[in-house]
Symmetry: D4
Subunit: 161 residues, 8 copies
């Protein structure tokens, strides 16, 4: 995996498409090269399926961290949220009930990056305290809730709507 | 959105593909119908992009809940994990350091389903206690960490590997 | 305030009515006596308004206690809930998200009754632990949420429904 | 239920009376209309009994939230309490012993209003932190403790006073 | 028990003596009156033994409260301690390891005094937070540890010194 | 300080008297010896005042420990309380509201005795968990609340009773 | 670093000596080889000083974990302690006051070993719960407290003994 | 053990060597005296082995304390860390995930020094709160993780690297 591969995968993530034409527009990489490289990335298991799900371990993003963030803010919480989202590695951010204000999930490469993440959070003016937890292993990680429902339940639930 | 749409979206989620041919094999719905319906779902915003990300609000799955699970187990933790994953609605499950054994994220339709989820968890023999938190609003929810990194960082990090 | 007054006030609370006729049916106290006594109770401030809200201090129920209940149950939580409700003095019981299973509010006469309440809770088989908090003073206690909304908000909110 | 019904129910809650005459004074709605409407509201189950208890679900106030409030104040706590009571939706507020300063109960319409409530609390200068808990289901909610006592206990307790 | 009795008991507590002569010097009450009154107080059970232990319930000091105090101080902790000791009702104050800085025990007359105590603590500049717990019943309260040791242990322990 | 002194001090603590005659009855030590020894103990500062308050440091009881005890019991809590009181060194035991069941204060000689105390507590069948805190220094320790009140407050409070 | 180097370093750790003769006795490696290898290990920075302190990073033991262990035991705590010490990687184990029974420090190679450590702890019968914390970076780690004192303090403290 | 012994032991700790020549350079004590004294210290058990491990009890450093430090800092955490390390008695300091920022271990002589340590920590500007725990007994304390691994595991783990 070299820089071009990364450019491609990053463009797919940002644009939400695997269309070679649109990726070409974004990256300038010739369409035929894109075809060739995407196939290789699929063969190597970096791209896991037709939906372009990426195996993050292959990117060295092997560390998952959960962070509870306690903030002290006067304005709308979304402003604090924006600052949290601006920190690299944050894949999820939830504004929650309970003692904590935000629960954040991040994917990182290792201890050094954990240090950086926490420093970045602590440097946000409104952030009062962070409580991070190391994930030993992730058993499932999808943002597509449909996978976790049976077809029957989905149809029933929908019928109720 | 009717039952056929749901079948299609469920098949996409399970198979990890948007290929009409493979969806036809799985669902028996004619390929031309699949084309037609997927386009409609995109136009309606149910399908959000070319990667077939689904807008869960459209499914009525508007409630997100975080659950900390404290378990008492003698065998491997993965057995407990499997039981947690078997509960409908669970999109993520992490085995973590810290006081809690597992942190689970679930997408649900409402209070009634929250009750069912917690009952299902409590009914698992190894589960000692659950601590659930209601998500007021989700600011970001992706499993694709690449979105949260700049291209520069990705290239640098990779170079270091 | 004597036993007859208490019979009347108890009947009002249970039947949800201040109608002398129905109170007569329930208690056997003559209608004219009921009229006379209710007026006296109003004059004395025991009955606070036309909705028959009662001043609990006059009943010696001057102590309010909040109790978090942690339960360990296999069946439906409502069975545990029923047992909690059966304890005298419990004015509210909520089944909640979070670390605690139930949050209960009770009105009691003093330390002795607090002891009894906690003993009663601890004696319930499914109850694992209780965490009670003494209320120093109650600033508001209504079950009628309409009091806390402005007319404007109520009309707007309703319009949105 | 239209605006006039809401005016009536709000007046009942504020004045503590169901007397058509006094409601007429407050709202300007003709007495005969009041009679007619109150009967309809009873028939529809919005008004639950002769004490004018209101079914809050009918008002869309289906969400109950418990909030622990930690405040930092120099003056009397009642001043902070007043500010908490001024937030719409607050049905109860207790000043308590323990780690928390206030425990508040609120009835709301949904997630949006939860956001607003928490924002309103956080905007109070003396409020340092809030910890809110979502009520999955309320098993009992009365402010009338007499309901939870047997007649025998009431008579005995009173005798002891 | 009247004011003179209180003067006597207070003088005993402050001077650490039951000697009628010294109590006379302090209070100006004639020695013979002191003899007479102390005997009456013993007969009434206000004075419990020859060591002049006082039954605090007789003084209306029936409420015991434990308070954890979290302080933020730059100078020596003893200065904060002095301010805590200056609050009426404080019978013990310990500077402790652990999350809390001080643990205080107080004897009070009722809810109103609890309010005052907590207000007094919160008004101390260095005090950040207080966490008070209501004592339902005290099973033992002595400052004389010798009572809790057997003679054998005392002799052995001493021998080891 | 030798064994005879200890016998005397122990008898004073147990009998609640400093009367040489009664101490003689209890210990068999001649009255004149008792006079002589008590005077010496006062001169040495072991006995601190006329009320026979003892300087526990002189007994090597220099360590104070606070212990929160969480118990699981079906019968009356007092039975558990009795078992706690039976452990040597326990000067106070309170049955409290809050997460903890009992708060205990103990005076001990050192680390070894702390080990023993905790072992003794853990060995009590109903005790589930103990949480002990080391007291770095005790600023006040009296069981006589009168010391902490001004004469004015005592007189006023009493007048209100 | 090969197997022989490891044998040598392990023998040094176990025997508490760097004497080539004693290492020869233990490992059977010729004395001259030992000389040669130890010098190389020093040159490579695996052995850090004349006291044979080892750079654990060179051993791949780059992960430090703190684990709080809550145990439920009837016999002496030392038996539980022995079981904890038997788990590989445990460099420290303290029996502590406070809510936790033991605090353990472990040095490990990575996530897999963390999983194994926690599994090993949870498999100990008396262990009820573990709470592990990932060390992001260790600023100092010595068991030789003398390093952290100035010579002046050591001399003064000693003089006081 | 006199001042010269302390100088020697301190020099060994700081220089990481037991070489009499280098100790002579550092301390000015004649080489022959160093030989003589080190032998005596070994015979007395102050020096425990050839690696010059010191028995800290002999130094009166019999108290071990664990301190969780919560800090509020804007710059790099290492600056706070440096200030913590500057406090005498600190043998370990870890920057950790979780609610706490630092976990520190200290070896001290007694209560007085615990007071000083906590005061020193609290006096550091960035330190917000400390939570100290008294170690009743230490079952193992080494910084040499090799002792806790079997030779087999070390060889296997290394082979995997």
């Amino acid at each position: 995996m070299d820089e071009r591969d990364i450019r491609l995968l990053k463009a797919i993530a940002d644009l939400g498409t695997g269309s070679p034409e649109r990726l070409h527009e974004e990256t300038g990489i010739p369409v035929s090269t894109i075809h060739y490289r995407l196939n290789n990335l699929k063969d190597d298991g970096v791209i896991e399926n037709d939906l372009y799900d990426v195996n993050l371990e292959e990117f060295g993003l092997g560390v998952t961290v959960l962070v509870e963030v306690l903030a002290d803010y006067d304005g709308p919480y979304r402003e604090v949220g924006e600052k949290l989202l601006a920190v690299e590695g944050v894949t999820q951010a939830h504004f929650t009930m309970g003692e904590t204000d935000f629960v954040v999930v991040a994917r990182l490469t290792g201890s050094e990056m954990v240090e950086r993440l926490i420093s970045d959070f602590e440097a946000i003016e409104e952030v009062e305290r962070t409580n991070s937890t190391y994930v030993i292993s992730t058993l499932r990680d999808t943002h597509n809730a449909l996978q976790s429902y049976s077809l029957e339940t989905l149809i029933e639930e929908l019928a109720e709507e």
